[in-house]
Amino acid sequence: MSELLGHYNYWIVIILMMTGFYTVIARPNLIKKIIGLFIFQTSVFILFISMAKVEGGTAPIIEEGISVYSNPLPHVLILTAIVVSLATTALGLALVIRIRDAYGTINEDDIHVQDEED
């Protein structure tokens, strides 16, 4: 039971990660691929934040009378990673819009067909 609870967070993270990975490699729609990437990124955030948690700890804001805090370092890494993830998502979506301008479609299969015709 403790084995199950002790690794529950990590296993769900891996399931989410694989859900995102599957969306990226199996779905031909480019917006869906970007959303798959987004799910993947979020699962990595949850992995880091789960590792930072200390049993019985509290948020890392120093206060008198509290001695156990969760680890602040992963929080910092993920905080900036979230903002950067928005930057990459926005760039990806901008590329999708330009691809649609050039090919008239956002379906990967159709784009391949058009490329082969040229």
Partner: protein, 324 residues
């Protein structure tokens, strides 16, 4: 109790993830992505990462969703059935997942205080922050002071992304449609937006200047500030939003924020310290740290607001009807 909330939230995240993969209507998928982000933000609160939760709620549930919706509006909202069978991807995914789960068996248990991740620098940050920096929020002290170089890099990455979107999508000024979409239909939305707009901006400023004592800081404040303006633009049309903050101003702001950050670093070098060593900025080291952190958080905030709005303007100025 905490464990129970953790288990339920992760379960809901998994269900939402599966629903996102299965649905073919991209509008529905965009809304589910927003819910997915909000659920993960709630999970971060349970896991004690309040600063991260604030950022995730504003970015994932707010701005990302609006960008996805704008992209769907600019392209198409129906996903075609894929031509290939999903058998090979499924095998790849299951094999990778199984390998990763096998790998977790060696990991320390969730919440274990003796895990290697809590040793070395992490514990010294917690121990030294009150004496070194004098701020209560350790996340802020690590972000802005101990790992100031990293954060300067992150701000530059965001600046670069803003330039990238500008290069890809360009920018079109909107002359007509300055009234925005159908005046009558949006009365309720406009009244509510007008009420919330000043409160959101005030809250963003609170988050910016309160970052030393509670959850908050430049990244969160910048994103919340931008969300306020996006709400305004959604309710009153892009033309009106551009009259409040013109595009030229945003381009200057994006650069000014990064320059403020770098200038604090150079100023501390001129005063005889190392790059980004805030102690030398004032006579008292702790006051110097406070001053340095405040200035660089301001720089981060300015760049984040500007880049978020540049990205938003870039996407939405391509829509024809001006209805976002």
């Amino acid at each position: 109790m905490e464990h129970l909330i953790d288990i339920v939230l992760l379960g809901l995240l998994m269900i939402t993830g599966f629903a996102i993969v299965r649905l073919r209507s991209l509008l529905a998928v965009a809304m589910l992505t927003s819910i997915y982000s909000l659920l993960s933000a709630s999970l971060f609160v349970v896991l004690d990462a309040v600063d991260v939760a604030l950022t995730e709620a504003a970015i994932g549930a707010g701005i990302s969703t609006i960008l996805i919706l704008a992209t769907v509006a600019l392209t198409s909202d129906e996903e075609k059935v894929p031509r290939h069978t999903p058998l090979l991807p499924l095998v790849v995914v299951i094999a990778t997942g199984a390998a990763l789960i096998y790998g977790t068996l060696d990991m320390p248990h969730y919440g274990d205080p003796a895990a290697p991740v809590h040793r070395d620098v992490a514990s010294s940050y917690l121990h030294d922050t009150p004496a070194d920096i004098g701020v209560q929020n350790v996340v802020t002290s690590v972000l802005a002071s101990y790992r100031g170089y990293d954060t300067l890099g992150e701000v530059t990455v965001i600046f670069t992304a803003g330039i990238g979107v500008l290069a890809l999508l360009g920018y079109r000024t909107r002359r007509r449609n300055s009234q925005g979409p159908g005046n009558r239909k949006l009365v309720v939305l406009r009244v509510v937006a007008k009420l919330f707009f000043p409160l959101i901006l005030l809250f963003a400023l609170y988050v910016l200047f309160h970052g030393d004592y509670g959850p908050g800081g430049g990244f969160q404040a910048g994103v919340i500030f931008a969300t306020g303006f996006i709400l305004y633009a959604l309710a009153f049309g892009l033309g009106n939003a551009q009259r409040v903050i013109p595009h030229q101003l945003l381009r200057i702001m994006a650069a000014v924020g990064v320059l403020i950050y770098a200038a604090v670093g150079i100023e501390s070098m001129l005063l005889g310290g190392k790059f980004l060593e805030y102690r030398v900025l004032a006579d008292d080291p702790v006051t110097g740290q406070h001053l340095g952190i405040m200035l660089i958080e301001l720089g981060v905030g300015i760049t984040v607001v500007a880049v978020m709005l540049i990205i938003y303007y870039g996407f939405v100025s391509r829509l024809h009807s001006g209805d976002m």
